[in-house]
């Protein structure tokens, strides 16, 4: 991965407490998995920022390398990789997601 790409990813993750790399936008997700993540975060009332990887091929490939995670969407909480669609759904269903986000944002 080129350094400018890595720096851009790092900046996005560092400057947004809840950062989502997804296909499409909050209002127009372009993939069902990305849509799942947006709906979950919206339903919890979480403030989050998104980056549309379809708009930037370097970021789209770079983010997979960054997290050693091969799929989009990817959710970062306070700089830490939290998971993709499956993990968010599971954490949401078990009730641990809301608590984890609240604790992270309060610290």
């Amino acid at each position: 991965m080129e350094n400018p790409t890595k720096n851009k990813i790092q900046n996005l993750i560092d400057s947004n407490p809840v950062m989502v790399f997804m296909k499409g936008t909050k209002l127009m997700p372009q993939c069902g998995f990305s849509n799942n993540v947006v709906q979950i975060l919206n339903s919890l009332g979480v403030t989050f920022n998104t980056f549309d990887v379809l708009s930037d091929f370097e970021i789209r490939e770079g983010i997979k390398e960054y997290s050693e995670w091969p799929t989009i969407p990817q959710v970062y909480l306070k700089g830490e990789f939290l998971g993709g669609s499956d993990i968010l759904i599971e954490m949401y269903n078990t009730g641990t997601l809301k608590e984890k986000i609240e604790i992270a944002l309060a610290s």
């Binding site: 998995f33 995670w69 091969p70 990789f81 998971g83 993709g84 669609s85 993990i87 954490m91």
Partner: protein, 76 residues
């Protein structure tokens, strides 16, 4: 596109002691994959999923598998 049996074989090669179930979602290239293995004991969900993804690394990179819904479990 990778077939169900290819996906199952790749995962079983990587995670030897595993049960693997694969279903098609909506008839397109999205797969629902469930992996049950004692190797997941003590690993975070992210680590568990990373282990499965590592078995399918080439197929995901080449988009032979576009996306999969993954569920990992430990045996009861």
């Amino acid at each position: 596109m990778a077939t169900k049996s290819e996906v199952i074989n790749l995962i079983k090669q990587k995670i030897v002691d595993s049960e693997v179930y694969v279903e098609n979602l909506k008839g397109d290239d999205h797969l629902q994959v469930t992996v049950i293995s004692s190797e997941f004991n003590g690993l975070s969900l992210v680590k568990q999923h990373q282990l499965v993804y590592s078995a399918l690394k080439e197929e995901l990179a080449s988009e032979a598998i576009h996306a999969l819904a993954l569920k990992t479990e430990t045996p009861n």
